[in-house]
Structure formats: C-alpha cells, structure tokens
C-alpha cells in the first residue's frame, strides 16, 4: 500500500480540461478559453521523439497535464506488462503530470492486446487482483493513481460486489484515488437497468480526483431495450449534464474533462463544451 501522504502532488485545477488532439495545437495555444489543463492517452506519447513529444513539451509549459493510460490492463487475469510499466514510468518522470489515471478494465490477455476496455466480474478474487495491480503501478510509477469506472454493456452472473463497493474497496486497500466518468455511469445504468443517481450517491466522491464527460451513441439490444455505446464521438448528452450538475453539487468543483476521441470536431465546438462545464463548476463555487 502506498502512503498517500508521502508525496506532494501537484493537483489538476478544479476547472475544465479537454482530451488533447494534435489538430487543435495552434488554436489551444491561441485561445484556450476556460481550458486549464489537457489530458493525453499515455500510449500515444511513448515514442522516442518527433512531433508528438515536441508538441507535448511545448504545451506542458502552459498547461497542467493529466496522463491517462489505456493499455495497462489493470483488470487482466495475468501479470502486468513490466516493459509497458517501465515506459509509463519514463513518460511520467519527464512530463511530471499533475495526475495519472487508468481504467477498471482489461485489454491484454496472453500477450494479445485488444485495444478496447474490456469488462471484468466483480468478485473477491478479481478485487484482490486489481488491488495488487494498482499497488504495483503506484510502486513502479512512484505516485498515487486514479482508477476510472467503466461503461458496461453487460453484467457477469458471477459478480458478488457492486461496482461502487468494488472501487471503494480498491481505493481503501491501495490508497489510490478515483476518476468518476459521469457519462459511463449514465451509459452503464441505462444499459443494465439501474439508477444513475443511486450510483452517484453510493460513490465515494471524496476520493474523486477527476471527472470525465463524453458523448455516447444510441443502439438497442436483442429485446429492443436501449443500449448506449460510449464512443466519445459527439456532444455530452443532456441527461449526462444533469447528472454532472448533481455530482458537482455533492462533491464541490472537480477537474472535469471533455473527452471527444472520434469524429473530433473543430476547436470552437470542443471549447463550447468546456464552457458549459465551466458554468457548472462556477455555479458550485458561488
């Protein structure tokens, strides 16, 4: 277990951030609007040099950074990839971001990387394994991490714990913080027929170091029941904004990210989403 008081962490500001896309490089530098920090996917910046690293060095002079991993496979049945952990440590060491986060999910099994965030059952066995992996990450990287709630399309019959109890217990055992993805909460609740507000009420908001907001797509399952797809390809939906407002009233202002990874829009559209998040955060401060 990592002693969370052993490090003095620079925190992300309690303000809007956006997922950084290289096509916005010039506009972000000229007119960031309310955007105070940027998030990158760790794996895209693990090359040795060139344009990606040059852009990152330049932007890091002005913006706080969040490094968000998508490839560690913390929920994997097998051991963590030690080479990948070493690459992550290298990135975090030179960039010195204000935050590092990863997902409650798996993506690698028997060395094949599937490039998606895959689900796991919530049992005592998987809890022990995830806590062990989070311990290992924090040990190697040398800082506290945030663990993010997934979006779910199905449930495991073998699960014995709720997701909120699972996350709370991982945090208790490892000292990690949590990343609350409000869109994921809405997507999962809709898909599995549960109540998103009850989820937020059960979530340990005091451990939240960052909030995610993103768009989702609408589909249906075999029975015509709504099946929302978390695709980060559009504006944040209105019911997700409402759930975000509810969360912020409960938690107070938090670093809040607009994620838009597919069909990435022009900068003004993304900035308008950040402005909308800024208003919610300001209302909670007033």
């Amino acid at each position: 277990m990592l002693d969370a008081t052993a490090h003095e962490f620079a925190r992300l500001p309690d303000a809007p951030g956006v997922g950084y896309k290289p096509q916005h490089f010039n506009e972000i530098a000229d007119d960031a609007g309310p955007v105070a920090w940027l998030e990158i996917h760790a794996e895209n910046y693990m090359g040795d040099g060139g344009r990606p690293i040059a852009q990152l060095r330049h932007l890091a002079e002005r913006f706080a950074f969040s490094v968000h991993g998508v490839g560690l496979s913390i929920g994997g049945e097998g051991p963590l990839d030690s080479e990948h952990l070493a690459r992550l440590k290298h990135l975090v060491d030179w960039l010195d971001p204000a935050s590092f986060s990863e997902h409650l999910a798996w993506s690698t099994h028997d060395s094949a990387f599937l490039n998606d965030l895959l689900p796991l059952p919530y049992t005592e066995a998987s809890l022990a394994r995830v806590a062990e992996h989070v311990d290992e990450v924090q040990e190697v990287v040398g800082r506290r991490m945030l663990l993010e709630n997934p979006s779910s399309y199905l449930a495991f019959e073998e699960s014995t714990l709720t997701e909120t109890d699972f996350l709370r217990e991982v945090a208790k055992r490892t000292g990690c913080g949590l990343l609350l993805d409000v869109n994921n909460v809405f997507v999962s609740a809709t898909n599995l027929g549960t109540d998103p507000v009850s989820y937020i009420n059960a979530f340990p908001v005091e451990l939240v170091g960052e909030i995610h907001l993103g768009g989702h797509d609408d589909d249906e399952d075999d029975h015509g029941a709504p099946l929302l797809i978390d695709n980060h390809g559009s504006e944040v939906a209105d019911p997700v904004w409402s759930l975000f407002e509810y969360t912020i009233r409960k938690s107070g202002p938090k670093p809040s990210l607009i994620e838009w990874d597919n069909d990435v829009p022009d900068w003004p559209v993304l900035k308008a989403e950040a402005n909308r998040a800024a208003k919610v955060l300001e209302a909670a401060t007033a």
Binding site: H84, F113, L114, F156, E157, T194, D221
Partner: protein, 249 residues
C-alpha cells in the same frame, strides 16, 4: 458460471464463435448481441489503427478491400503491444501471402515504405551537423571518417517504383509511376518524415554508413555496386535531409 479472459478473448477475435455463457443484460436475460459491442469495438479500433498506418495501401486496394484485409490481418497478427504506433509491422509479409494481394508484387514494399515513414515519425530527436563542418574537412580526412546518421533515418530498397507509387497516391499532381527499381531514404529534416529517391549507388553508400563503414569504404562499396555512383549527388540528399548528426574518426 464463470467467464475467463481466454474465453472472452477467443469469442471477441472469432466472429463465428459462440458468445460466452454467464453474461447477462443485468435483468436476468442472456447478454446476446450486447457482447458484440466489444467485438465491434476491437475490430473497428484495430482496423482504424491500420488505416492510419497504411493510407497508401488503403488507397491502392480500395476502402472496402482494405477493411476485409484488415479484418484478416488483425485476427492473424493481433497486436502484442499497447502501442498502436507499432501495430502492423507484419503487414509486408501478410500482403505477400494473403490470397487476394499476393500477386501484386509491389504492395509489400509500399507497406515497408509506410512502416519506415511511421518509424521515422516517432524516432528520437537529434541535431544535425552543419554543412560547413563537412565542407571544412580535407578530402583525406573525409575518406577516413565515420558519419553517424540520425535515428529517424530509414532505407527502403525495392525492385518496384515504390516512391513514385507512394507519391502518386499521397500527393496531388504527382506523375504516374513508371517501371523502375527505386531506393528510398526516409529522414526527418524537421518534425515530419520525408521520403527521398536515392541516386544510383546511394543505397549501398547509406547502408555502409549505417553499418559503421568509413566514408572511403562506403564510397568503394557504392562505386562497386553502380558505375554511375555520384558522391556529390548522394551527399546533397544527405545534407538536405539533415541526416548527419556526427562526423568522427
């Protein structure tokens, strides 16, 4: 009923496989096509990674064919690293054996050029020497010196006109390719990789320099390979592309 990750992975990568039991819609009914969301995410995200990595191959075979090709590729060669920047390294060999493409001889070499450009893009930074440093060397010193080339330098040789094919499909107003062998130097004069045609003997020269030969030995090898070897022509390319980072003994 427990679902382990081996079962989950196999069902994701094989669209014909049965979906695993033990998964529900959260309301007591089997998960059914909900499982296919994961199948689709994996297939689409890996296909998109290949589209980004091989834009010219995609243009050469056409969008629909590329999707079929990508679908076969990602099942035969799933990534073994979470770094999508490295995904697709087996593409040249795959194209050489994949039934619909194996007759099209130049495809594997064009794929090698696209891989070289991608590697160059992510390679480590290095400051080039100034052309003045090269010019200041007396000829006898130059012959005995070894030159270190930048980490972003790649050499791709082909019996096909791969650079002309690449340009015709990647650049506007490029001439249509004519049959010729082409040797290509890829380097990063600034932040973006640029492919450049090497003159006769140029590939032997660059290859010798890359493997640690002196300038003199590299010149001998290049002259042996081509009677038309022209040192100033090759040096002009190497200087223009800012490839030389250290000149030493």
């Amino acid at each position: 009923m427990t679902v382990d990750q081996t079962m989950f992975r196999e069902a994701i990568l094989d669209p014909e496989a049965a979906r695993p039991d033990g998964l529900s819609d959260g309301k007591g009914r089997p998960a059914g096509r909900r499982f296919d969301v994961y199948r689709n995410n994996v297939s689409v995200s890996l296909t998109e990674a290949l589209e980004v990595g091989f834009p010219v191959i995609r243009k050469l075979v056409g969008q629909e064919n590329f999707r079929l090709l990508a679908s076969a590729y990602l099942r035969r060669h799933p990534p073994h690293s979470p770094l999508m920047m490295h995904f697709g390294a087996d593409m040249p060999a795959f194209l050489a054996t994949f039934e619909p493409t194996r007759q099209t001889g130049y495809l594997p070499d064009v794929a090698r050029l696209e891989l070289a450009i991608r590697e160059s893009y992510h390679a480590a930074d290095a400051d080039p020497t100034s052309p003045a440093e090269l010019e200041a060397l007396p000829p006898e010193a130059l012959v005995g010196s070894r030159v270190q080339l930048a980490p972003s330098v790649r050499l791709v040789r082909s019996p096909w006109p791969i650079l002309s094919i690449w340009r015709f499909n990647a650049e506007e107003a490029a001439k249509s390719p004519e049959m010729a062998a082409e040797d290509v130097l890829v380097a990063r004069p600034d932040l973006d990789p640029v492919p450049e045609l090497l003159p006769p003997g140029g590939a032997e020269f660059v290859n010798a320099v890359l493997t640690g030969a002196t300038f003199g030995d590299a010149m001998d090898m290049a002259s042996g390979a081509s009677r038309n070897f022209d040192l100033p022509a090759v040096l002009t390319v190497l200087v223009k592309m800012k490839t030389m980072i250290e000149i030493g003994g």
